[in-house]
């Protein structure tokens, strides 16, 4: 179909995120507001041991002393923390009885993303037949993992079943008082995932698959802790390409990764939360603290594809503590309409011969603002540290903005640091060339954006890369510059 620019604009305007959900849910919800009693009550509800309750309370006390940060290049009405309910039991009742009741628009998106029928049901909140594959698949997964000694469960379960591990590592990478949202999360986290890979074990599967089928309703304050013991390897994927429907406006998750000697963690995120409608109303605030620590010869690799959320504030970081450790950050952040993203990474080089790579691709369209904010720090003892950073921005239309705020701090003369940033738009000649070859403008843009993002997309686990590619296409639909 040949679009004219006018038609595209029109389509863009009328194109809304129609996946908000309306059904009544039977759930147990705490009264609004936050105080020590609520924190204790959350902890009780989850049947946590006393040390955990204490830990939460301590965090809450830190949080009370802190003020919401304002340095990020985003503007929004600050959430009223006393108007939020901090606990809501996961809803058990299915929202729909069959796929026919689900919004056809949503289904077509699923279809385009190539999500299997069962998963579609799960994601749309359709009641599942017990005999259906997913449960048995999950069980098989669990069995395989257990054989290898891998612990993969919800964090609440881990607190009960493996308190020694949780107690040892929780808060070691992201301390309770690290920042405002991390403190809040530490006090009230609802649930999240826990993963432990024993010494020398290579996790046989992408933990994503399992995650996608099983993890639902983790709530707005998610806590993730991944520990890779010496010489182990794990690839972990959170989030989903499917548009995620969520009534919670504020999301403040904390993710901690611990890679012990010679271990490797690959953590991929695909985030597609509700970005607000075309006039910028609604949408999720995503304030996430993600950080990993690398011991000797360890490697942490963050890959993220961010297309959703009205406001994103997120800096997956690596502390390269051990000698010869490696940190990587690959990111694509797409903003459209009134979305705002301030995202980037921190690479803290402490050990000798540490290496880090940062590839960040920002794509802004509509009236959105997209910022890269990063820190590369080489401490005085970090001999032969090496960093390469590249931040490229692509602007579509003249009402959006792209910003870069890279901080580079070096205290060692043997450090080698390179930083590059470019900002450009899609060339008219590129589009013309595609048009000439019979590729319509919209397809051409998708093609060019894909090429622009290739370096990052390549880092995603295979099946996800395909979905993410389509997701980019959908996110930018109708935003011809």
């Amino acid at each position: 179909m040949a679009y004219t620019e006018e038609e595209l604009k029109k389509e863009l305007e009328t194109k809304e995120y129609e996946y908000g959900f309306y059904t009544d849910i039977e759930s147990e919800t705490f009264p609004n507001g936050l105080n020590e009693e609520i924190v204790v009550a959350i902890s009780k509800k989850k049947e946590e041991p006393e040390w955990m309750t204490e830990w939460r309370l301590e965090s809450f006390r830190y949080w009370k002393e802190m003020v919401e940060p304002e340095w990020a290049n985003v503007h929004y009405t600050k959430p009223d923390f006393q108007a939020i309910s901090y606990y809501s039991a996961p809803n058990k009742k299915p929202k729909y009885n069959s796929l026919d009741e689900v919004d056809p628009e949503l289904l077509s998106t699923f279809e385009r993303l190539g999500i299997s029928l069962d998963e579609q049901k799960k994601l749309a909140g359709v009641a599942m037949d017990i005999v259906m594959d997913s449960v048995s698949v999950a069980t098989t997964f669990k069995k395989t993992l257990a054989e290898k000694g891998i612990i993969f469960c919800s964090i609440s379960e881990a607190i009960k079943e493996h308190p020694e591990l949780v107690k040892k590592y929780i808060g070691t990478v992201v301390p309770q008082k690290d920042n405002f949202y991390a403190a809040l999360n530490s006090a009230v986290f609802s649930d999240g995932s826990f993963c432990y890979i024993p010494k020398g074990v290579r996790c046989p599967m992408e933990l994503s698959t399992y995650f996608r089928i099983n993890q639902a309703g983790t709530g707005q304050f998610e806590r993730t802790l991944v520990i890779a013991d010496e010489g182990s390897y794990v690839s972990y994927l959170e989030g989903c390409t499917a548009p995620s429907r969520d009534e919670n406006q504020l999301h403040a998750a904390v993710v901690e990764l611990i890679a012990l000697d010679d271990a490797e963690i690959k953590y991929s995120t695909v985030q597609n939360w509700f970005p607000g409608d075309k006039s910028g109303k609604g949408g999720v605030y995503n304030f996430v603290t993600k950080r990993g620590i690398c011991e000797k010869n360890a490697k942490i690799s963050w890959t993220q594809v961010e297309t959703g959320s009205a406001v994103t504030w997120k800096y997956p970081s690596c502390i390269l503590k051990g000698d010869n450790s490696i940190g990587e950050f690959y990111s694509i952040a797409v903003t459209n309409n009134y979305q705002q993203a301030d995202t980037g990474t921190k690479m803290i080089h402490l050990g000798k011969n540490t290496k880090s790579t940062i590839i960040s691709k920002g794509i802004s369209a509509g009236k959105s603002q997209n910022s890269y904010r990063g820190l590369v720090q080489v401490n005085s003892r970090a001999e032969n540290a090496r960093n390469f950073s590249q931040c490229d921005s692509l602007l579509m239309g003249n009402e959006c903005g792209a910003h870069t705020f890279p901080y580079i701090e070096t205290k060692n003369k043997t450090a080698q640091i390179e930083h590059e940033a470019t900002t450009s738009k899609i060339g008219e000649d590129q589009i013309f060339y595609c048009n000439q070859r019979g590729i319509d403008t919209e397809k051409a843009i998708a093609l060019i954006v894909n090429g622009f993002s290739k370096e990052v997309l390549n880092k995603l686990p295979m099946e996800f890369a395909v979905e993410a590619q389509k997701l980019l296409e959908i996110s930018l639909e109708g935003s011809v510059g």
């Binding site: 890279p406 580079i408 043997t414 930083h419």
Partner: protein, 427 residues
Amino acid sequence: MAFENTIDVEHPIHDIRSEAIKNFESKGFPSKKDEAWKYTSLNSLQKVDFSIFPKEENTLEYSQVKKYFLHEIDTYKIVFIDGIYSSYLSETTHDGVDICLMSSALTKPMYQQVMDLYFNKVASKEESLTTLNTAFSREGAYIYIPKNKMPKKPVEIIHFATGNEASLLLQPRNLIVVEENAELQVIERHQSLTKNEVFTNSVTEIFADKSAIIDYYKVQNNNAAASMIDNTYISQKNTSNVSVHTFSFGGKLTRNNLNFFQNGEHINSTMKGVTILGDKQHVDHHTLVHHRQPNCESHQDYKGIYGENSTGVFNGKIIVDKIAQKTNAFQQNNNVLVSDKATINTKPQLEIFADDVKCSHGCTIGQLDEDALFYLQTRGIPQKEARALLMYAFANNVLQSVRIPELKKRINKLIATKLGVRLGFEL
């Protein structure tokens, strides 16, 4: 406020001053908590009790200070000793162009019109140190080049501190207006003659009208007890071309706030700098280019070599407004650390609101190429000299655009001296 008593309170500048004082009182000195001052602390300066005005007028003999002038060529000179104009050492003119003093420009009615149009118009009314200068400065250079004129020779602005005061605060204020199609070359230098502490908080406003060409050279090779905060604000109109070269070799703490505002089309702005630091020195280059109109260009190229306990900061900001389509903005910052104790903090920053632009920044921190070093050694050049040669080559691009040959030579020598080697041949 003794100073206020000596001038006419009816004078329009009086209002500007009172407002500036108010602003400074509410803001105070910037601290490390301010994002723009994250890497530079003024604490060490705030501890010193600076005298704002020298108690007596000091004089210097030309022979004492000849070496600080670009004496190989003839220049106009505006010379200040401890902040007070020295007519003996200066060479000003009113022949077609005005190269004279701020104090006379502020008081004489014939300059009134120019002052109303330009004074304090581009300098920040918010930034605390600039307002401090606006409030208390009383002297500086005033240069006015009318349409289609070009002064016969470059202008040197030199500030000497005699050190007769234990610690002195200097606040020079310069205004430079270059009208349509006119041209100007300026060399600015601050020199302290003793080990006594000097703190200079300078503000320079530069206006380049249509097709004007301005080359501004800042030579910062002060001694180890001198600190300086240089605030330069430049407003450019259509097809004007302004370049600022900053050579930072000396001083204890140097902060360069260099701000370009492009208020027209087809403008070219160039910022270049060479920084070579040794023990306990701190230099902070803070540049801003605000692209406000379409079809403009800006080029930045800063090279730094950091030795011993020195700290270097580079913070370059490029803002491209929504209407500033077809902007080309380039920024390059390369650094070499030659000591384990040296620190470099750099933050190249882009804020872009227009889509049809070409903006890029590049930043590197690294060492001298070992292979190149080896090659030179195999050719019989001792390691120390080879290093110096490589470092010289590293800084060289920046020198190429210096358009006063004698100055280029002088800077070459300064670089060689700073790198601590005698190369035995002319660079």
